[in-house]
């Protein structure tokens, strides 16, 4: 029987986890059994994500392919889901757990992305095309941390709307800066691309060649004969390597949330006055949380740069980038950490479903195949055929429908999908599933 | 029949159970005082009547009509006026504008202003001043004026003497007495002598319930009966 509180997701504390997954009296389980039980759901999700490329190719090549090609996102979209999902999770880390809405979060994402590319292009002393990608990721993250400390030191004197606006202001300054500064490139408005290095960025143990795999749709490594039977395309390899980084990052953030530090973060969200009265230096905790969230946002940006090998001011620094993270968090659930990843997965799935892009997956080709050319050509109004109507009102305009959904969620499902599920079952889903296995 | 009747009212602030079953009756024409320590729920009682903080349980009737569930402005429109703690002037509006806001009918503004300034001549000389520039005593008069021009039959007055010098308190008491001649008043006041002087009856509130009540003519300010419920 869970205690329902006014604000959701305060139930995701470490106490709940341990309290409800203690073995029955008299039995002592080995630590790994305990760990496995507590993380059954995590393992299941990770297993599913790991199997996804395989599932996708299986379904695409099967008789039922049409339906699935239409609905399931392509593997390369999934790569974006992963690294932007990490960004969205870092956004939730600060906004969902401390209650301070970081509307300027794109600043850190853009910093990570730009740093990786500029460093690889030799713009900074000390780093260059030969620097291991993993090192660049960490350095980009640290750069974002430094930025966060500066921004946070000034911004955390305020709260609420003011905090959101001032962080937005900072991120827009950076946006304009990067858009117009010639140091960045010859046509800064168009963004920058990797020119200093032709081969793909490698993720793995730096220096150990055998434990590194390159990412990138064209530059990535293809793997043949893994475990004797499996082969992976460069995109699939990118998916796994990026996924690995995201996974490690997620667990790191999760550890912090479930630690005393994380509990103070939540206390700040629930009632900052009281937290301060108890004796916590809330300013330091907020700054710390902000810095941590910036670190992972920077890493996410670095992954973007590593995979796409180019970035524009719009895709890195523009405030709507943080808006997308906000959207992901609302759909998935603020203060759930994993929720935003699912929220973004949903967002990208719908966008791809309704994308205008050529034949590759989507509503229009599917309908075309199934309703037949005649139905598609039927005139609805003023010479507009069904096909044209779909192309005009649906395709490429996922933002409208997702936006409407977003509004509906804010009104009726304010805790997002994951958040609502957690409320319903009184605890993180991991603990719920863990209890089944007792 | 009572003008205002609170029956087993329970009000919460969040999860905090502030009013744990309040029963109060106020009859037309009288002045009733609520006495008690800080934090026992006196202000909350007034706020509950006005539906500023809606009671979770119990009933509050005014002239027989249930108030719980109505909007604050609907309660006010039925003739209840609020003269809150800290007066709550609209500081950036002038004295005159502060009064005008309280007048229910736009057409009556001029008449209402005349009447207010007649009762409080001190305010007339400062009619164009920003309300935030007034002294504490003048603000209290303005708050009273607002309550009176609102065509209210019942005034809910919260700590009118708070923060005022004794001489000013006397003036406030005079004004309240004058108002009491044609308006019913429910008064919250920590200044015991003032409360007993103004009121006909009293209720003592402790820990969110009524623990004692009676006629003010039966008690004095030094009475142990009352003192034990007040701050040391």
């Amino acid at each position: 029987m869970a205690i329902s509180s006014d604000t959701a997701n305060s139930s995701d504390t470490a106490d709940e986890t341990t309290a409800s997954t203690l073995p029955a009296a008299g039995r002592t389980d080995a630590w790994y059994v305990q760990y496995a039980r507590e993380h059954v759901l995590h393992i299941a999700v990770i297993a599913f994500l790991a199997a996804y490329p395989g599932i996708y190719s299986l379904l695409v090549n099967s008789p039922v392919s049409a339906e699935f090609v239409a609905v399931l996102p392509r593997v390369e979209t999934m790569v974006t889901v992963l690294y932007f999902g990490l960004f969205a999770m870092s956004f939730d880390f600060i906004s969902g757990y401390t209650g301070y809405l970081s509307f300027g979060h794109a600043a850190f994402y853009g910093t990570g992305a730009y740093f990786v590319i500029l460093a690889t292009n030799g713009k900074f002393p000390g780093v260059g095309p030969e620097t291991p990608f993993v090192a660049l990721l960490v350095l980009g993250g640290l750069l974002a941390v430094a930025l966060a400390i500066v921004i946070g030191a000034l911004s955390f004197r305020l709260s609420g709307v003011y905090f959101a606006m001032i962080t937005l202001g900072f991120s827009q300054v950076l946006y304009v800066f990067v858009r117009d500064w010639s140091f960045v490139g010859s046509a800064p408005r168009d963004g920058i691309a990797v020119t200093g290095k032709l081969s793909g960025f490698q993720i793995g143990v730096p220096g150990v060649d055998a434990l590194n795999l390159a990412i990138g749709q064209l530059t990535g490594d293809a793997v043949e004969g893994f475990l004797g039977v499996l082969s992976f395309t460069p995109t699939e390899v990118s998916y796994y390597m990026v996924g690995l980084v995201v996974l490690v990052s997620y667990f790191a953030m999760q550890r912090i949330i479930h630690s005393p530090f994380g509990r103070v973060m939540i206390a700040i969200r629930e009632n900052e006055e009281r937290a301060r009265a108890i004796g916590y230096d809330t300013f330091r905790y907020k700054l710390g949380a902000f810095a941590i969230s910036a670190f992972f946002a920077g890493i996410a940006g670095g992954l973007l740069a590593g995979f796409k090998r180019s970035v524009t001011p719009e895709s890195g620094f523009y405030f709507l980038v943080a808006g997308d993270a906000l959207l992901a968090s609302v759909l998935g659930g603020f203060g759930t950490l994993a929720g935003p990843l699912y929220g973004h997965l949903f967002d990208e799935t719908v966008r791809e479903f309704l994308s205008k892009a050529g034949g590759g997956g989507g509503l229009l080709p599917y309908l075309r195949d199934h309703l037949g050319a005649n139905t598609m050509a039927t005139e609805l109004y003023n010479g507009l055929t069904v096909a044209e109507a779909i192309d005009t009102f649906l395709n490429g305009h996922a933002a409208l429908y997702v936006g409407i959904l977003f509004v509906l969620f804010v009104l009726y499902v304010p805790n997002g999908l994951l958040g609502t599920l957690r409320d319903r079952y009184g605890g993180t889903l991991s603990t719920v599933v863990a209890r089944w296995f007792q | 029949m009572s003008l205002l009747s609170l029956s087993n009212v329970h009000t919460y602030y969040g999860e905090s159970h502030v009013l744990e079953g309040i029963d109060i009756d106020v009859h037309e024409g009288e002045v009733v005082a609520l006495i008690g320590r800080n934090g026992v729920g006196k202000t909350t009682t007034l706020r509950s009547v006005l539906q500023l903080t809606q009671p979770r349980d119990g009933s509050i009737t005014y002239r027989g009509e249930e108030l719980v569930g109505l909007g604050t402005h609907e309660v006010a429109q039925r003739g209840l006026g609020w003269i809150p703690e800290e007066r709550r002037m609209f500081g950036q509006l002038t004295v005159e504008e502060n009064i005008r806001v309280a007048v229910p009918d736009a057409g009556d503004e001029a008449a209402a202003l005349d009447q207010a300034f007649e009762t409080f001549p001190d305010l007339e000389s400062r009619r164009d001043a920003d309300a935030s520039d007034l002294s504490g005593g003048q603000q209290q008069m303005l708050a009273l004026a607002r309550g009176l021009v609102g065509e209210n039959d019942l005034l809910l007055v919260d700590e009118p003497s708070e923060g005022l010098a004794p001489l000013i308190v006397d003036a406030v008491a005079d004004a309240l007495n004058a108002a009491a001649e044609h308006t019913t008043i429910l008064l919250v006041e920590q200044n015991l002598p003032l409360a007993l002087d103004l009121a006909d009856r009293f209720y003592v509130i402790d820990h969110g319930t009524v623990v004692d009540s009676g006629d003010t003519s039966d008690v004095t300010a030094d009475d142990d009966r009352l003192r034990r419920y007040l701050s040391a």
Partner: protein, 343 residues
């Protein structure tokens, strides 16, 4: 090496001094002043609605920019439909005024519906939700407009040229007086801005509802306790705010540096935020003064960018830096009462 660096610095410094002297010359200064006032007028129009709504309701309407954009397209549509090539200048101005009135009415109605349907239900929730909700509205609305506009063959991203063309010729010209060159459009915008300021000021100080708005911006609870239906005042102010936003859009549809386009939503939202926060959330006086400051800064920095500093983003960056400085030094803004984070 040192000598060369010093020489380089000296050259830059002397170049700067030259530019400064140039800038302070009466004709340049005059032009910049007028440009600044025109920009200030636009900023006042873009920001007034936002400040009235936030001051009274504590709601930061993220969809404000989108509503300006809708106003620009609607106004542009009315003008394109009614102004033929032979229409005279005066008639065009009259048609413009007609468009303004129509757009105001339509957008005010839309605003009222928005408030009743979407804002009111979440009014009691933490302010975060209002930001989220209005953000969602902006996403959906922008995309919706994109669909409609593309459907009729108008490019959503570039400025609507046809609408720009409905301007009377008199406004596209520049006029010289007292050695200063003034664009006709700038003068028109200043006039409009002043008219708007006067109209809003009159509403706030001379009408009963204006009185309620000012009182409610200070203490909504007390206002309700005085018998005023604050909910109705909210709806009215929200409608008013969106109406003004729409009118600002119509004005912008005639300005080649803005123009009716979907990105106009974001282009106006950010400056609106800046102006409102520098001036003080909820004070109209603050918005007017801040619009003046931001407008003058914008015009000044634009001149400097065109004549000395090769950095396109100079005006924008300066303005954002002013925002940051304001929030650090005086978060409640120039005329703000206190750090109101909501209601």
């Amino acid at each position: 090496m040192n000598g060369l660096v010093l020489l380089g610095d000296a050259l830059v410094l002397s170049g700067f001094v030259d530019a400064l002297v140039d800038f302070l010359g009466p004709s340049n200064l005059g032009t910049v002043l007028l440009d600044g006032l025109a920009k200030a007028a636009l900023y006042v129009m873009i920001a007034s609605g936002l400040t009235l709504v936030f001051g009274l309701m504590g709601v930061l309407n993220f969809a404000h920019g989108s509503l300006t954009m809708v106003g620009a397209y609607l106004g542009g549509l009315l003008l394109v439909l009614t102004a033929g090539t032979a229409t005279g200048g005066v008639t065009r101005i009259l048609l413009f005024l007609l468009a303004v009135v129509t757009v105001f009415a339509i957008l005010a109605a839309v605003g009222g519906l928005l408030e009743v349907g979407l804002i009111r239900p979440i009014y009691d929730r933490p302010p975060l939700y209002q930001i989220l909700l209005t953000f969602g509205v902006t996403l959906a609305l922008d995309e919706f407009v994109r669909i409609v506009v593309s459907f009729y063959g108008i490019q959503p991203i570039s400025e609507w040229q046809a609408a720009l063309a409905t301007k009377p010729a008199a406004l596209s010209q520049s006029y010289a007086f007292a050695g200063v060159s003034a664009r006709g459009l700038a003068l028109f915008q200043i006039l409009f801005g002043v008219a708007t300021i006067v109209a809003i000021w009159a509403f706030l100080t001379k009408t009963r509802y204006g009185l309620f708005v000012r009182a409610g911006s200070e203490d909504g609870e007390m206002l309700a306790a005085l018998g005023v239906d604050v909910q109705r005042v909210f709806t009215l102010v929200f409608a008013l705010g969106t109406g003004i936003a729409g009118v600002a859009g119509v004005l912008l549809a005639w300005d080649p540096s803005w123009g009716a386009s979907v990105p106009l939503a974001a282009e106006t939202l950010l400056p609106a935020f800046v102006v409102v926060i520098i001036g003080g959330l909820g004070t109209f006086r603050g918005t007017v003064v801040a619009a003046g400051i931001v407008g003058m800064t914008d015009a000044t920095m634009t001149w400097w960018f065109q004549n000395f500093v090769d950095f396109t983003g100079l005006p924008e960056m300066t303005i954002f830096l002013i925002l940051v400085l304001t929030l650090v030094w005086r978060p409640q803004g120039l005329y703000g009462v206190s750090e109101v984070g909501g209601h």
